[in-house]
Amino acid sequence: MSEVLVVIDHAEGEVKKPTYELLTIARRLGEPSAVFFGSADKADAVAEKVKKYGAEKVYVIDDADVEGYLVAPKAEAMQQLAEKAGGEGGLAAILFPSSFEGKEVAARLAIKIESGLITDAVDVQEGPVTTQSVFAGSYTVTAKVTKGTPIITVKPNSAAPEETEGAAAVEAFTPTISDGAKTAQIIASQPRQSTGRPDLTEAAIVVSGGRGTGGNFEPIENFADSLGAAVGASRAAVDSGWMPHAFQVGQTGKTVSPQLYVANGISGAIQHRAGMQTSKTIVAVNKDDEAPIFELVDFGVVGDLHTVLPAATEEITKRKG
């Protein structure tokens, strides 16, 4: 079986769930090899994790070679790895998480190795044939790469991770990085403070607030906590300074595709929809019964979020006992 490269999504060695989804998808296409960009001393712990999802190999590209710069060094490293890995038959595919960084490395790599690129897949099947959701979720598109090694970036929540034991043989890979690739330098990086809630893009439930909160996100946060959900916001809430930009859902914020999305005090503009329309179940609380968001919902409450949400939170807590 041909090898499939899967770039690991992680923060300081903490492997994120989309990685397991990618490995699960990779097994449909060939034999998954995980690629870890990170500190070599975290490699064994990472290998332990990806082993459970069928990674046969783990290529470790130590941070020191690429750390501190934007994506160009990673693209060079991936090019060199792609040329070496796969052996005679070449690679069946290269999969990246559909983060901005993932997409940008994939983009540079596509030009370097003359291979087609498909971004933002929400499903990948044998072929590989990808499925994408476009035009703010109003169309579903299937596509194929027709040249070179298929490079595909995959959105979170595109597959249910399936466990299976792999060999996870750790192999160090040391790329040669050109000086030219090291010209966009990260001068400072401030990790965002953890809210203790699930990560927005990975969460199974997202509860968002918009202008209708009037700046008071407490009812949103309490309701989210009663469901173990992540908190999101519309751009109007972000522009008003009520929530940091990192919480924005939509075209210029995060795209989320959770099992449940609850929009509170959000009208449902096309740019907001673009970020949440593929959610499995959609619920809205809005005091205007003509708000466009109600066109999308499985369940809607016409009412004031400041009274509905606290009461619903209480009801949920009571039911949970």
Binding site: V71, S115, A184, V285, V297, V301
Partner: protein, 256 residues
């Protein structure tokens, strides 16, 4: 800059699975307006030492995108139009853009929007940087330039970063960089006299078989309109009934 179908209209595909760019009104991708704005602001800070050139690739009508940029204040515009380009993927689009930039001559800065409002791939700036052999600095929310040094602030997935780079670079900016200006009446009148150059593939030294749908490195096989969501249940809250109904619904779907 990209000319895109209006996102608030019913966007569709043609029978060959390319985006319908005729049946739906088009406009300059809103996110590219922020790029034009940044270019203008940076130019204003250097007191006229620089020139802002608006570049777009697209069908005849895409010239409207170039015109809008001229109205906003760009000094001149270049529109690459050629029937052979229709259906091009990211890869071919980035090739045409790169060749056009080389043809224009030395550019200190290539500014792009963070994504187009139709495909939202966010990969063309990176591909362009790769082809021009330049660093890419993407997703800027704040841009500061002094001489040939650029500093940007951006929100990355898990952190806020400050990036430093030396010109020339490919930059992409988000809608956090600040509102894009509206063309003034004066701007609209002045735009009519500004140079707008049209280039074809042969002007750029690109063969027709290097671009277009037939040679795209990735191809769409099928497009299906998503069935409209079936109307959900909507209740009106009265004396707390909304909260109970909401909890009831969530429980029925096993979210509680």
């Amino acid at each position: 800059m990209k000319y895109v179908p209006d996102a608030t209209a019913d966007r569709q595909f043609e029978s060959d699975n390319t985006v319908d760019r005729v049946g739906v009104d088009g406009l300059l991708s809103e996110l590219d307006e922020y790029a034009v704005e940044q270019a203008l602001q940076l130019k204003e800070k250097t007191e006229g030492e620089h020139e802002v050139i608006a570049l777009c690739v697209g069908p005849e009508k895409a010239v409207d995108a170039a015109r809008k940029a001229l109205q906003m204040g760009a000094d001149r515009a270049v529109h690459v139009v050629d029937d052979a380009i229709a259906g091009s993927d990211y890869v071919a689009t980035s090739l045409v853009l790169a060749k056009a930039i080389e043809k224009i001559g030395t550019c200190d800065l290539v500014v792009c929007g963070m994504a187009s409002t139709d495909a939202s791939g966010s990969v063309v700036p990176a591909m362009l940087a790769e082809r021009l052999n330049l660093p890419q600095v993407t997703l800027a929310s704040v841009v500061e330039a002094q001489g040939d040094q650029v500093r940007i602030k951006r929100d990355n997935e898990g952190s806020t970063e400050v990036i430093g780079a030396t010109l020339p670079i490919v930059l992409s900016v988000t809608d956090q960089t600040g509102e894009a200006r509206y063309p003034s009446f004066k701007g609209i009148m002045a735009a009519k006299k500004k140079p707008l150059e049209t280039l074809s593939l042969s002007d750029l030294g690109i063969e027709a078989d290097q671009v277009g749908l037939a040679v795209a490195w990735s191809q769409v096989e099928e497009t299906t309109e998503r069935p409209p969501r079936t109307a959900g249940e909507i209740v009106t809250d009265e004396d707390g009934s909304g909260a109970v109904a909401l909890a009831e619904f969530l429980a029925s779907k096993k979210f509680i």
